[in-house]
Structures are given as structure tokens and as C-alpha cells.
């Protein structure tokens, strides 16, 4: 045979066998990376494809920014005026809300409920997907060099996106919430019912394990519950699109994600979450009796609280205040919401408004000067 195939037949067969073995090896071998092991073939493929994706995405962004920032400024003036008006309106709204927020923080400090704070985030651009209909993973242009690690939460300002599953030096793979392998601790905001948000093979998201006798309605908001230890509590997930009785006494609840998962461009990776007590330093020293006198209804001393008003760890509702498990705590921020387990502690405090209780109201950082700042004000009896 005078063809190339014929002339080098043996060599080609040898190369093919070696190639097949190489592929088989690449599939089996896992390369230890900074953040765990990754299959060698995945490392190669990602290294081959992501630089091009990054280059195209960044060029596109540069051109878009140039156009929008320097050329296409037709509506900017009107938009500016609109934004100024919005800022004024929001300032008023903020003033109204900050009082409620301060109150909530004081009460949380009082009850030693730790909150999860997003300490730092990394902005990243979506540069690609798996390209497959079945797998919905995304690739972002930030990796372990930027501090990204597996199991970090990925969000947008409108809602959560997913979590990091695999990380290489300059890129990372994100498992979105609508992937069939995804699972997120979720709760219905109004009803405070917790379930698990799961993706489906066709790319929709469903909230599972909500009992079928619950009054779930279309349009209700779904937020993160914090139970998965990946997403901080209270982030927006989406809204209920339909709720129908399903099998096994549970509802079939379809949720429309708030984030546009089919058209993502920029995302934020939460790189650090901290469990800490709300910072009440700037709120000034205040006594429990002051707070409770203002807002909380008075009820008799609950069992599980000692005479000084300090919570007994064995008491119901207090165990949930451990770091990272603050799920039960937030309902306290809504006085009068009628959550029995969580009102046990606040109800105990007004009955014993002693000066000894004062340091617990201020933040730990403020504890040094709290007693001095707290004036010997007579303890007010809360409304009974």
C-alpha cells in the first residue's frame, strides 16, 4: 500500500494503542491539586480550553466597557437623575429600617445568637459551560490562585447560583443549583418551613420535603436556610412557581431561581463566612430591659433560664445558638411572631432586669467599657 496509512501502518497502530492507554490512564489517574484530586484528563481539557475562553470573554468585556463607558452615553444623564432620586428615597427607607435592624442586633446579642456574615467575596466571570444538555456546570475565570476552594458558595446580587466543585489554578467549576446533583438547604421565607432545593435533569429546581398540608402559594419567596453549611442563611433563591401534592405526603414545589442561571456573566464567590455575634458597638450601651421594654411583650419566666436571666444551655431553643447553627435564632428578630422555641429566652429577661445582665448586651469587643457606660438607670419593668 502506497498510502501513508499503509506505509506507517504498524507505527500508527502502535501510536493508537499507546494513545488509548494514555487516555485510560488519564481517566484513572487523579492529580493531587491544592484543593483535592482531579482527574488528569480534566486538568488537560480545562488547561486547553479555559485560556481561550478567558481571552474571548475578557476581550468582549473590554470592548463592551469601552463602548458603554466612553461612547454610548446617551441615557446617562437621565439615568443619573433617576439614580439620585432613588438614593434619596432609599436614604429615607434606610433610616426607617436601620432602627429595626439595630433592635434586632441588640436582641440577638442579648441571646448570644451568632449570625453568619459574608466577610469577603471574589468577583468572577463565567467563561464557559460543559456544553452538554445533561450537565449544567459552569466555568469561572478565578481559581485556587485567587483563593477559590471547593464548596464555596457562588451568588449574584439577585440570588444564589451554586457552589464550587472543582478548582484548578486559574479557573473553577461551579455546580449550579439547577443541576441534578445539586442540593441546597432552603426555606420558605414567610412560612419558615425548611426543605431541600434540588435540581432536576431538565434544569428546573424543586423544593422538596415540605408537607402537603402546608399552605404554600405561588409567588412565595424561597431563601437559603443555612442548613447545608455552604450558603449563608437568608440569601434569596427564587420564588414558588407551582405547588402541587406529590407522592409520600410531600408537596411538589417548583421554584424559579432569581438568578438568571441560563445567562450568567458575572458572579461572586463567597470566600469567607464568619460566625459572630452582631456588632452592637456603634449602637451604644443599652440594657436588656430598655430593649424589651420597648418592643417585646412580657411573659412569665420560662423554665431553663436562671434567676439572672442567663440562658440555660439545656433549655429548648438555646442549643440552636451554637456557631453555624443559627437557623432557629432569626425568628427572634421578629418580636411577636409567635415562635415558641425562640421566645423562651427573651421572655425570661424582663423578669430579672438586674445590672449583672448588662455586659451581655454589649458586644464582646465593647465589654471593657460597657459597665462604665451603662448608667445606673433604674430597671424598667417590662409590660406584663
Amino acid at each position: 500500500m502506497d498510502t501513508i496509512l499503509g506505509r506507517y501502518k504498524n507505527l500508527i497502530v502502535l501510536a493508537a494503542i499507546l494513545f488509548a492507554q494514555l487516555i485510560a490512564l488519564a481517566v484513572q489517574v487523579k492529580r493531587p491539586t491544592q484543593e483535592g484530586e482531579m482527574r488528569l484528563i480534566r486538568v488537560w481539557a480545562i488547561a486547553a480550553v479555559t485560556p481561550f475562553e478567558k481571552a474571548v470573554v475578557h476581550t468582549e468585556k473590554w470592548m463592551h466597557d469601552g463602548w458603554v463607558g466612553y461612547v454610548w452615553l446617551r441615557t446617562v444623564r437621565r439615568e443619573n437623575e433617576q439614580l439620585r432620586a432613588d438614593i434619596e428615597r432609599m436614604k429615607l427607607e434606610q433610616a426607617r429600617l436601620s432602627e429595626d435592624a439595630n433592635m434586632a442586633r441588640r436582641i440577638q446579642t442579648l441571646l448570644v445568637f451568632k449570625e453568619q456574615y459574608i466577610e469577603s467575596t471574589v468577583a468572577a466571570q463565567v467563561i464557559g459551560t460543559s456544553g452538554s444538555e445533561q450537565s449544567r456546570v459552569l466555568y469561572i475565570d478565578k481559581g485556587s490562585d485567587d483563593g477559590i476552594k471547593p464548596d464555596m458558595a457562588v451568588i449574584t446580587p439577585t440570588g444564589i447560583v451554586g457552589k464550587i466543585v472543582q478548582v484548578s489554578a486559574g479557573s473553577a467549576q461551579v455546580l449550579p443549583i439547577n443541576d441534578q446533583l445539586s442540593g441546597v438547604g432552603a426555606a420558605l421565607k414567610d412560612l419558615r418551613l425548611q426543605g431541600i432545593l434540588k435540581g432536576t435533569p431538565n434544569g428546573t429546581t424543586t423544593l422538596q420535603y415540605i408537607m402537603s398540608d402546608e399552605p404554600v402559594k405561588v409567588g412565595q419567596e424561597v431563601i437559603t436556610s443555612g442548613g447545608d453549611r455552604i450558603f449563608p442563611k437568608g440569601l434569596e433563591i427564587g420564588t414558588v412557581a407551582s405547588a402541587e401534592p406529590g407522592k409520600d405526603l410531600f408537596l411538589n414545589i417548583r421554584v424559579i431561581p432569581s438568578a438568571r442561571l441560563d445567562r450568567l456573566e458575572e458572579v461572586l464567590v463567597i470566600t469567607k463566612i464568619q460566625d459572630k455575634l452582631p456588632d452592637t458597638k456603634d449602637l451604644g450601651p443599652i440594657r436588656a430591659s430598655d430593649i424589651l421594654g420597648e418592643r417585646l411583650p412580657g411573659v412569665p419566666v420560662a423554665p431553663g433560664v436562671d434567676a439572672a436571666g442567663n440562658a440555660n444551655p439545656a433549655a429548648p431553643g438555646v442549643s440552636g445558638s451554637a456557631p453555624g447553627t443559627a437557623a432557629v435564632g432569626t425568628t427572634v428578630a421578629k418580636p411577636g411572631s409567635g415562635a415558641p422555641a425562640n421566645t423562651a429566652n427573651p421572655s425570661a429577661v424582663p423578669a430579672t432586669p438586674k445590672p449583672a445582665r448588662k455586659p451581655t448586651v454589649t458586644s464582646p469587643a465593647d465589654a471593657g467599657h460597657a459597665p462604665a457606660a451603662a448608667k445606673p438607670k433604674p430597671a424598667e419593668a417590662p409590660p406584663q
Binding site: I46, Q134, L175
Partner: protein, 180 residues
């Protein structure tokens, strides 16, 4: 001029001989990579574009142009494995590899028997192979790996139509790289 003619067996066409094309090695490497890149890149912008399977079209194109089942298998397996490598944890490596290997083999075997140069035939074979592709993928995923995959005839029919239309255009573009 590297095209050569092979005796035609099992006539389903009026031509007496079927041309076998060869490609520059650079084309063989770059075209699949570009197809995989475009597939990953555009589906990030518009999710619904995932119904199109550019790498499969490339497998079909090379297989029917070269008309060699062995090279069709190898091309299919390499492109399929690369496509697999970009998949997430729900996508084990080998699913597209197996699927595209079968497509590569079948397409090259078909290329020996029928004329695959005209747009009508290209439309039909792409439509048919997309259905085969989906069926094999579903079979491997559901049958071997117990993955919760869904089968929808309407989706497959529409995806086949979309791939066939785009495929005809892609093949027309790739014809420029044929060496004859």
C-alpha cells in the same frame, strides 16, 4: 491532491466511485478543539444552544469524508472524551466517548455506501445520527450508570432538526478544509 477514489460497494448512489478525502493534521487537531470551545463558550451565553452538538457534527464530517471506520472510531472517541472532560460531576468521563465512537464508526461505514456530499443527504444523516447519539447516551447513562436521565421524543425530534440545519451549514464550511 490527496483525495483518492475507492471502488464503490453496495450501490445506493449513482456514482461509480466515492472520493476519500484527507485533511491537514492541523485541521484534524484544531477543528475539534474549536468545536468544543464554541460549544462550551456559546452555551454559557445562551443555555438553549446546548441542543446543538457541534463536536458530534465534526465527528460525522470527518468520518464520512475519510470513510475509514478505524479513523472514524478514533476521531469519535477523542472528541467525545474531550467533551466528557468538560462535564461536571454528574457526567462521568466516557459517556460522550462511547457515543461519539459509535457515531464515528457508523458515519464512516455509511460514508462508504452512500453519497454524502449533497445537502439533503447531509441533513438526513445528521438528523438520524443525532437520534442515535441521544439514544446511545440515554442507554449508557440510564442503563449502565443509573443516571436520572429523561427521554423526550419531541425534544429529540426538535434537537435533530436544529442539528441537521446547522450541520448542513457547518459541513459546507468544513468542506473548505478537504484536500482533493
Amino acid at each position: 491532491m490527496t483525495a483518492r477514489a475507492t471502488p464503490f460497494r453496495g450501490s445506493l448512489t449513482s456514482r461509480e466511485q466515492v472520493a476519500v478525502y484527507e485533511f491537514n493534521w492541523l485541521t484534524l487537531v484544531l477543528v475539534p478543539l474549536v468545536a468544543i470551545f464554541l460549544q462550551a463558550f456559546f452555551t454559557a451565553k445562551l443555555r438553549w444552544l446546548a441542543v446543538l452538538d457541534l463536536p458530534m457534527m465534526v465527528v460525522i464530517f470527518f468520518a464520512v469524508a475519510r470513510r475509514n471506520p478505524v479513523s472514524g472510531c478514533i476521531t469519535g472517541s477523542v472528541i467525545g472524551l474531550l467533551q466528557d472532560a468538560l462535564g461536571g460531576p454528574a457526567h462521568p468521563i466516557g459517556m460522550y466517548g462511547i457515543t461519539d465512537t459509535i457515531i464515528g464508526y457508523a458515519a464512516s461505514s455509511l460514508g462508504v455506501k452512500i453519497d454524502v456530499e449533497n445537502p439533503g443527504t447531509r441533513f438526513l444523516i445528521t438528523y438520524g445520527f443525532l437520534i442515535v447519539h441521544e439514544a446511545v447516551y440515554y442507554g449508557v447513562g440510564r442503563g449502565l450508570l443509573r443516571q436520572p436521565l429523561l427521554w423526550s421524543w419531541s425534544h429529540v425530534a426538535l434537537a435533530g432538526m436544529a442539528n441537521a440545519v446547522v450541520g448542513v451549514l457547518v459541513y459546507h464550511l468544513l468542506d473548505r478544509f478537504k484536500q482533493r
